[in-house]
């Protein structure tokens, strides 16, 4: 497959764009599904002041961790659908049979997932930060850490989705596979925001999140493609 990654091959880019455009179109036509993780995020965060305490002091203490945990769960909620419909209608096997490296096509699919879940979650987070009385110093770090972190979440989650796509009821298994891998992202994401609120530098945490993302971009698509090949081969 190495020849397909050769840079002089112009069709690599075309395959990437074709899959990207197709998935964006599908995402836009299924607006309801698109809104699902966002509504979940919104609902849970609005419940916190009602269920825990409306006092700004308590909320401010909970805010970084709460926002991160719920964003993570919202991503998890969206994962099962990532390859499901492609698997059911046979386009997944067509995608794997493309002469181009599966890395390219898988990358396009995960990129669309990030654009349609990670980015919206990141953009809504500051708004929900207001509801959680997040101190002012926390907004920029929250945005940055979520932007980097949700990228890793999409890539790591896609591995789990690819492994479980051929199982009819893979939902629980998917969470079990993915959750442990999400923990480091959560720890560094939430602690970056907390550090910023407490007046410390948060660039270490951002750097770690960035390196997670870099590693995930390199390695995850290979794992995803491998898992998809296994899932299709049954």
């Amino acid at each position: 497959m190495s020849s397909s990654l050769h840079s002089s091959n112009p069709t690599v880019g075309k395959a990437f764009w074709a899959t990207l455009k197709r998935d964006l179109k599908i995402a836009i036509r299924h607006r309801g599904e698109l809104a699902n993780p966002l509504i979940f995020f919104l609902l849970v965060i609005t419940m916190v002041p009602l269920g825990v305490s409306p006092s700004p002091k308590t909320l401010a203490m909970l805010a970084p961790g709460m926002l991160w945990v719920v964003a993570l769960l919202a991503t998890l909620l969206s994962l099962d659908a990532l390859f499901r419909s492609d698997f059911d209608d046979g386009t997944l096997e067509q995608l794997l049979l493309s002469p181009q490296s599966s890395y390219i096509n898988v990358m396009a699919k995960v990129f669309v997932h990030w654009l349609t879940t990670g980015v919206p979650l990141t953009l809504v987070a500051p708004l929900l930060g207001v509801m959680m009385s997040l101190p002012e110093a926390g907004y920029i770090p929250l945005l940055l850490s979520l932007l980097l972190g949700t990228g890793s979440l999409s890539l790591i989650g896609a591995i789990g989705a690819a492994l479980t796509v051929s199982l009819r009821k893979g939902g629980l298994l998917l969470s079990l596979i993915v959750m442990p891998l999400y923990v480091p992202v959560l720890i560094f994401g939430a602690s970056g925001v907390r550090a910023a609120i407490e007046g410390f530098a948060y660039n270490t945490q951002l750097a770690v999140l960035g390196s997670f993302l870099a590693l995930a971009i390199i390695a995850a698509p290979l794992a995803i493609a491998g898992a998809l090949k296994m899932s299709v081969n049954n």
Partner: protein, 226 residues
């Protein structure tokens, strides 16, 4: 369109293939040579292993025993060259119902990296399968046969020379089948390969048939492992 490089010889050879599914031996000792211009029809009752063999042929799965070679090299050593020549139509149509027929075909053309005169060619392909006027409707509004025809439009769009088709004639009407037969004949005359499974009788001069029932594993092979 075809340049001299595209006209290279094509040869697929199956060497002593055995396939199993869920620990059950389907067939064994299957050796076939498929060359440019061949139309090969796989026969066998339901469950004989036609789909399994076709999936092995496109390298979606691997045979339990034996090797499939493309132009003399094992498939996995020559995967890029093989797949750039390959069009596979599976048991599942591979059509996104949210998208229109034209959008579906655009994606397939994109995967092949082929966009010269694309819109014109998509229009012609859809005309050929009788879907002219439906190109911008969502596929879920189409009937089962029409959805199948969207997938079959790829036969008029793609430049791939090896067609592996799993039951391509399901849900297609008589006129449609006759038209597809002509398309198979055309493809074979231009030096392509068609490998298909169908229970229909095909009227083609170049037709070769392989009945998987002739390759049922013998009892002593089952006893001795393989």
């Amino acid at each position: 369109m075809a340049n001299s490089k595209d006209q290279q010889a094509l040869a697929i050879s199956l060497d002593n293939i055995a396939c199993q599914r869920d620990e059950r031996q389907l067939f064994s000792g299957l050796s076939i040579e498929i060359n440019a211009g061949d139309v090969l029809q796989l026969l066998g009752p339901n469950g004989a292993g036609k789909t399994t063999l076709l999936r092995c042929l496109v390298s979606l799965s691997q045979p339990a025993v034996g090797e499939i070679r493309f132009n003399g090299q094992a498939l996995h050593q020559n995967l890029y060259a093989y797949r750039s020549q390959l069009l596979y139509l599976g048991h599942l149509a591979g059509i996104k119902s949210t998208l229109s027929p034209a959008e579906n075909l655009r994606w397939y053309a994109g995967l092949e990296g082929d966009d010269v005169n694309l819109e014109e060619r998509i229009e012609t392909a859809l005309k050929e399968v009788g879907l002219y006027g439906y190109e911008d409707q969502s596929c879920f509004n189409l009937s089962a046969g029409q959805q199948r025809r969207v997938a079959l439009a790829r036969l008029y769009l793609s430049k791939a020379r090896i067609w592996v088709l799993d039951e391509p004639l399901t849900a297609i009407d008589k006129a449609g089948i006759a038209k597809l037969e002509r398309r198979f004949a055309e493809h074979s005359a231009s030096g392509g390969i068609v490998i298909l499974s169908t229970h229909q009788d095909l009227k083609l001069d170049t037709l070769k048939q392989v009945d998987l029932q002739d390759y049922l594993p013998t009892p002593d092979m089952l006893m001795g492992g393989l």
